[in-house]
């Protein structure tokens, strides 16, 4: 689904932001991209979304095509909920479908079903100001999952939430991913989140961002966030990822 080969990226032509990045994400995989702040995780995600132009000569394929803004194969979810305050929860959830040309009625029906799925049945006509942070992020999840895009690019979608809401939404994301054949590239700086959600955790080093480890997560699916807290495999993988992250720092400092 994503094939990146030896990607080098610099914004000013002098300092590298990404260096020799190889990333391969297979269809149906959930890959978490972890690393220290400023290591280029979001930049790599934005390259895949077409938000950052791919430099000439660099090889990156997303769903079999060079990355392009507006590709129907891709749905993007930002760190903040980015709901439109003037639209109801229902219209926010239907926004992506409407922009991509689906008939209004059909888009609203699909969005209503997805809102119900994320636990917001009965809140369709509420404005974002009437919703809590967690509920707003559920609407954003509904907006993302309402689109039939096979690839989801998620940029720290739960980064701004309190710990308890975060766990609830992680569980919800696990369920949503288990229900459909979706490929997910998920940026996070929270290692336990990365291990709990992903099939693989790709660890990046400090700038220039390089991939220093690709750790397979040996946890079976379906998963439950609560059950993972007592899993030895979970803690072992977490320690492994942490070690690689530390190596990335040491290498950078050295």
């Amino acid at each position: 689904m994503i094939e990146a080969r030896q990607i080098d990226l610099s914004f000013d032509g002098v300092h590298l932001v990404l260096q020799g990045v190889d990333l391969h994400v297979r269809t149906g995989e959930f890959v978490a991209l972890a690393g220290p702040s400023g290591c280029g995780k979001t930049t790599l995600l934005n390259l895949c979304a077409g938000l950052v132009p791919l430099p000439v000569g660099q090889q990156l394929q997303v769903a079999g095509q060079p990355p392009a803004l507006g590709s129907h194969s891709v749905a993007y979810m930002l760190a903040r909920d980015s709901l439109f305050p003037w639209l109801s929860a229902l219209d926010n959830a239907a926004f992506g479908l409407k922009v991509r040309g689906m008939a209004v009625q059909e888009a609203r029906e699909r969005a209503a079903a997805m809102l119900k799925r994320v636990g917001l049945g009965g809140f369709e006509h509420k404005l974002p100001k009437a919703l809590s942070h967690g509920m707003r992020q559920r609407v954003a999840l509904a907006r993302t999952f309402a689109m039939p895009s096979p690839l989801l690019l998620m940029d720290e979608p739960f980064g701004a939430l309190d710990a308890q809401t975060k766990l609830q939404l992680q569980d919800l994301l696990l369920q949503l991913c288990q229900e459909g054949e979706r490929t997910v590239l998920f940026v996070t700086h929270d290692l336990s989140e990365a291990v709990a959600l992903a099939d693989r955790v790709v660890v990046m080093s400090s700038r220039p961002g390089r991939i220093v480890a690709d750790v397979a997560v040996p946890l079976p699916r379906p998963r439950s966030i609560r059950a993972l807290q007592t899993s030895e495999d979970f803690h072992h993988t977490y320690t492994q990822v942490w070690k690689h992250l530390e190596e990335g720092w040491v290498h950078h400092e050295g």
Binding site: L51, L69, G70, K129
Partner: protein
């Protein structure tokens, strides 16, 4: 809730009573001063004289004709000035180089005391409504222009990024994201623009006009009818308040999501 509602009502009543007492004392002292000679009524007028003139003037067709004339000029200048400002603001945001080029001219015109343009406007458009609208437009335009540009530039970058990743067309981006996102800031400019339009039109009428509340004000002043001047000033203040109420009403309906 009931208790809260009751407290609120009592609070409002107390505030109203305080204002009524204050205004009553001021007007009472003023009337007393005018009657005893402590205040010269030929320069300051008197509250009862003002009320008498107001009641008499309310039955005068001239007042309503002048009011209509002034409001026509105010709303015309508001709509023309705002439309031109929004269009220019959009052009500036779309082509920043155009904005950079125009910036010194806009800045120079914006600091110019616009009332000083009245002689030119009278030369160009005559003593009629045209010169009043021109001054109103010159005041409305700049305030709405600056808020249009600020409003569009202030649109949430998250909204823009999300919509770009969805592959939105320029039309979708403008009507679904940029315009609604800019409306709160733009609206504050429109509210000020309407007040400035009133200010410009009445100012131009006071200087030279065939009709209008400003012209009536100038006439009453030149004939030493001080009660009449006060009466018209209260009328203008009332019009200003009503305009603000109208804008608040529109804002509440338009921006109910805030």
């Amino acid at each position: 809730m009931k208790k809260g509602g009751y407290t609120m009502k009592a609070e409002t009543l107390r505030t109203l009573l305080q204002h009524a007492v204050f205004v009553g004392v001021v007007l009472g002292l003023w009337e007393w001063g005018a009657r005893t000679g402590a205040i010269d009524p030929s320069f300051m007028g008197s509250p009862l004289g003002i009320i008498g003139f107001t009641v008499e003037n309310l039955g005068n067709a001239r007042l309503w004709g002048d009011l209509g004339y002034t409001l026509l000029a105010v709303f015309s200048s508001f709509f023309i000035g705002s439309a031109a400002a929004v269009a220019t603001g959009l052009a500036f945001v779309t082509w920043p180089r155009l904005e950079a080029f125009c910036e010194p001219y806009i800045a120079a015109m914006n600091v110019l005391p616009r009332i000083a343009l009245v002689p030119l406007f009278i030369l160009w458009f005559g003593l009629g409504v045209g010169s009043k609208i021109a001054l109103g437009v010159s005041l409305t335009f700049f305030i709405v222009l600056s808020t249009t540009v600020a409003g569009i530039r202030g649109v949430s970058q998250d909204h823009v990024t999300l919509t770009r990743t969805l592959g939105a067309s320029s039309r979708q981006m403008f009507f679904w994201v940029t315009l609604p996102g800019a409306v709160p800031v733009l609206f504050s400019g429109l509210r000020l623009g309407l007040i400035y339009a009133l200010l410009g039109v009445v100012g131009a009428e006071v200087i030279a006009s065939e009709r209008g509340l400003g012209q009536q004000l100038a006439y009453l002043g030149s004939t030493f009818n001080v009660n009449g001047v006060w009466s018209l000033l209260f009328d203008l203040a009332l019009i200003g308040v009503l305009i603000m109420k109208l804008m608040n009403w529109i804002e509440r309906r338009l921006l109910h999501w805030q």
